[in-house]
Structures are given as C-alpha cells and as structure tokens.
C-alpha cells in the first residue's frame, strides 16, 4: 500500500443549489428591473449593443448570463458557451459565492478580500455592480439589503421602492 493516499475532492450540493437558485432569480430580476427602474435602464443604455456579462463561481459554476439584444435586456440562462461575453465577474470559489450571495459579505467587502476576478473592462464591471446593487434593494428587505450593498439608498421615494418592488417581483416570477 502506498504511503500517499489519493483523495477525490468532495461535493457541496447544498451550497451549489443555493447559489444556482440565487443566480437564476437575480438574472430574471435584472431583466425585470431593466424595464421597471429608470436608473437600471440608463445604465444598460450606456453599455454597447449586444453587450453580455456573466456572474458566477469558479471553477465550474453555477453561472448567470445576462445580455442586451436589440436594446432589450435578457436573462440568457446559466451557460455562456457559444456567446461572446464582454465582462466576466468570477467569484473565486463556491464558498466565497455563498458568502456573498447569502449576504454575509457585501460585494465591496468581497472585492476588498480578493474574492472576485473581473475579466473585461472595469467601467462595464462597475456598471454591473451598480445594477446588481439596485436589483438587490428591490428584491431584499432593508435589513438584508443593507448588508449586501455598499450604501442603502435611503433617498429613494416610497413610490419608487415599493412600486418598483411589486413590478420587479411580478416580472421576475412571470419571466417577462
């Protein structure tokens, strides 16, 4: 018997499932927010036509791909193969992804802790982060959203916040 054991790395099915569901829901929410929120719409308008970005975990996902086709923002699923991706936001591990997406760490803190890799133009990546922050404010209650975003937008009017929330949730659930 060899003195060296071969050990196959294990699996993390629960964390993987959580991250996959979160990314799926957020992807659809971004599509919805681009129709409901003016600020998100404006951010997307500044991005080039056919711009596509992905967010997910290394080494093999899960991923979320969102793109702009003929001026319309669409959630394109979890597989970017066969599609040019202009910006890839990669979280270094599934555990780091779980930390970020379960709001134990904000995106900014995770970036400071070297958990994210940006592959693409930095200004575009920053636009995506701003969009994600707005979407999280719509999706999450204030207490949790404050942990996820750098600065909670207390200056938003109730009409924008609650009206937008209804719009984003309805469109996300219906996928429109």
């Amino acid at each position: 018997m060899s003195i060296i054991k071969d050990v196959q790395s294990g699996k993390k099915p629960l964390k993987r499932a959580y991250v996959a569901i979160f990314l799926w829901f957020t992807g659809r929410a971004i599509q919805a927010a681009a129709k409901v929120d003016r600020e998100v719409k404006k951010e997307f308008e500044k991005l080039p036509e056919n711009f596509t970005f992905s967010l997910g975990c290394l080494p093999d996902g899960p991923w979320m791909v969102v793109g702009r086709e003929k001026g319309v923002v669409k959630y394109l699923g979890g597989d970017s193969r066969g599609r040019p991706v202009q910006v890839r936001l990669a979280i270094k591990s599934l555990d780091a992804g779980f930390l970020i997406l379960s709001f134990q760490e904000s995106t900014t803190l995770a970036t400071a802790r070297n958990r994210l890799i940006t592959d693409g133009e930095i200004p575009y990546a920053l636009a995506i982060i701003r969009i994600l922050d707005i979407v999280e404010v719509y999706l999450l209650p204030k207490l949790i959203a404050s942990l996820a975003v750098k600065r909670y937008p207390s200056w938003w009017t109730p009409a924008r916040k609650f009206g937008g929330r209804i719009g984003v949730y309805t469109r996300t659930l219906l996928g429109i």
Binding site: S2, K5, K11, K12, K15, R16, L58, P59
Partner: protein, 388 residues
C-alpha cells in the same frame, strides 16, 4: 535611514489571509498551472480536523489530491527519496505543506528532489546550488508554526538547505487553522516570530523592504500575542500571530542568520523544544549584549513595540534602553499569563545536563560558537533569576 544604502530583497511569497482563505486554493493552484497537488502534513501535530478542513476546501473543484500525512519529527531524507519516487510516478505538479515546522521542511526538500529529478534524494547537499525554478509550493501554516514556512530555508536531517527557489509561491493563512491547542503553543509561535523579526529589524545593514516586514511582524506580535495566549480560541488574535510568523519568515530570509535563530534551531533539532520557547528565553540576553556591543540599531525596535505616539515623545538617545525595557515587560506579561508553562531557564525547560554538553558541542562548530555557548550557559539556570 540611509537612502544610498545598497540592498537586495526577494520575497516571492503571495499571501492569502482571512476568513475562508483556504477555499481560494483551487483557483490559486490553477493560476500556478497546477492541477495535481500533493498535500504533505504532520497529522499528529496539526490534527485530523485540520486535514479535513484543507481537503474540504477543494470541494466542488473536481481535483484529485495526493495526501501524505505521515510527517514526523524523525522524517529524514530517506523518506523524502521514497516520496520523490512516488511523486515522479504519479506526476504531482505542486506541493501543499499543511502545518508548520517539519511538514514545511519536508515539502520544500521534496519539491527540490522532485523538481530536479534527483536520482537519490539522500545525497542532496545544501551546498549544491539550485539554478532552476521549482514546482509551485503552497504553505498552509497552522497552530505551531515557527515562521520558517515562508522562508527560503529548509532544515532536514540536520542540514540547512537555502535557496530563493525554496520559498513558497503562496502562503494561505486561515483562521480555522490558527487556533492553538494551548497557550504555550501559541506563545512559541509568537516568540519565534518576534525573535526572528527583531533580529532582522536591528540588523546593521540597511534594508527598508525587510524593515517593512519585520516592523509589521513585531507590531502584530506586540498587539495580539497576549490575547491569543490568554484565549487560544480568539481567532482574530490567533490569525494575527500566524500573520506575524509569515512576515517574520519573509524578513528573516533577507537577513543574515541571527544568533537567536541559531539557538532555537539547535534546541529544536536536538531536543524537539519549540524554537519560540528558546528564543523567548534568549531574547533579553542577546539584546542586552547587542546594546553593549553597539553594532545594532536597537532604537529601531522602539516604534513597533511602543507605538507611534510614545516613539515621537521619546528622545532618540533613550530609545534603545526604552525598547529593551518594553520588551522585557512584554515577556514578563506573557509569563504572568502562562505561569510555569513558559520556562525561564533551560533547567525549567527540562534540558538535562548531559544534553546541554551535546548542544554546546554543536554550537561550538558555528562561527558565533563562543558567543552562543556563553548565552546557553547563562540560560542554563536563568541568569535573570539569579540576579533576582
């Protein structure tokens, strides 16, 4: 500081420290072009939980890892040769040393033997120059680390291998592994870091890069060691001590081998006494001598030990003595927390007289031999105790 001084500094070690730092390993290894790593660990020293934590960090990466957890204090070049043959056969392309001390030394020498495809590792000689970049080495120091993990040195079979290429490419410091079994283990790590950092910091040759590392290491020890010793479960303080050990190794690699390091190494090699325990015992003696000799920049110690405000308020000529007073007070505080667990003399450390002679013989072969023998004699019964 003399800006015209001629100096060189090398530190190829990337550091990943903090919560869930271990989980970055698969990506970091991919960045080093490694997909088939071998983990080298002393399972008895670090515990099976640490091994499980490390292996768990590779979850979902799809990698297969080799695991050798049989490193002991008796591991020698014969074991390294056997491991080398298996590594060449199984084509391992990176090494991960889990834990401090021997595991890191074995991983470094094994990396040397595998990378150079040495026909017989038992014939490896420290004098033979290493001219080739080795395979990537990752060190994951755990409780019981001595700071040499991040250095360019490897000590095995009473030989000291030294090369820039022996230094690890990556050091991963994770709070889950920083927790010590007891206060004395934590104190040994901190004192080894403090000893090496202090020697690097007061070295006569000017090297601002090295000073940046040693300054931070001393300050980390000063601010965190007491809390970490009083409560070994304090993850924040324990991680800071582990960081200081890593920094002291980087600083030490760029300084001439110090007297304290030599003392600690000899006692560890021959008697297995943690280096930090011996270095903590010898630190006041060596620094008092350094103050008398006037060859060392003891005043430079005052700022990391006392803080910026006290440094600014103390006249330059008083800083060397003040630094010594602070350091002695710090060691006393540490002893008051640990009580008799931290020995003040070789007698308290349980070093028998006949082994002392053996140690004196080994020290006698060093260029600093006469001086070091004198220090050991003074440490034997605790000179400071005698003085009252």
């Amino acid at each position: 500081m003399n800006s015209a001084a001629v100096f060189a500094f090398t530190c190829p070690v990337k550091t990943n420290s903090g919560n869930k730092a271990l989980e970055n390993l698969p990506v970091e290894l991919a960045g080093l072009n490694a997909v088939n790593p071998l983990v080298v660990a002393n399972a008895r020293a670090v515990g099976s939980k640490a091994v499980r934590t490390l292996m768990g960090a590779f979850g979902d990466s799809g990698m297969t890892l080799g695991l050798f957890e049989g490193v002991t204090e008796a591991t020698d070049l014969g074991v390294v040769d056997h491991l080398k043959n298996i590594c060449l056969e199984k084509k391992y392309d990176a090494f991960i040393a889990l834990g401090g001390g021997k595991a890191a030394d074995v991983a470094k020498v094994l990396n040397l033997a595998v990378s150079l495809k040495t026909p017989d590792a038992r014939r490896l000689l420290p004098e033979a120059p290493v001219r080739k970049r080795l395979l990537p080495l990752v060190v994951v120091p755990a409780a019981g680390a001595d700071g040499l993990e991040t250095s360019q040195l490897a000590c095995l079979s009473r030989m000291v291998f030294s090369s820039e290429w022996l230094a690890p490419a990556l050091a991963v410091l994770d709070p889950r592994l920083a927790r010590a079994k007891n206060g004395i283990q934590m104190a040994a790590t901190g004192l080894a870091a403090l000893g090496r950092a202090v020697e690097s910091h007061i070295s006569a040759d000017q090297n601002p890069f090295r000073k940046a590392y040693s300054f931070a290491a001393i300050r980390f020890v000063r601010e965190n060691l007491l809390s970490a010793v009083a409560d070994p479960g304090n993850r924040k303080a324990a991680l800071a001590v582990l960081n200081s050990a890593a920094m002291s190794g980087c600083a030490f690699s760029n300084a001439a081998s110090g007297r304290l390091h030599k003392l600690g190494q000899v006692f560890y090699d021959l008697l297995g006494i943690p280096q930090g325990v011996i270095m903590g015992m010898g630190l006041p003696l060596v620094l008092e001598d350094a103050l008398r000799e006037g060859r060392y920049d003891l005043a430079a110690l005052f700022q990391p030990l006392a803080g910026d405000d006290a440094f600014a308020q103390t006249p330059a000529e008083k800083r060397p003595e003040a630094a010594l007073v602070l350091l002695n007070r710090f060691l006393e505080d540490l002893r008051s927390v640990l009580g008799k667990e931290l020995p003040k003399s070789l007698r308290e450390a349980g070093v028998p007289g006949y082994r002392k002679e053996e140690i004196l013989d080994v020290l006698g072969q060093d260029e600093d031999g006469p001086y070091l023998r004198g220090v050991v004699e003074r440490m034997a019964d605790g000179e400071r105790e005698r003085k009252g």
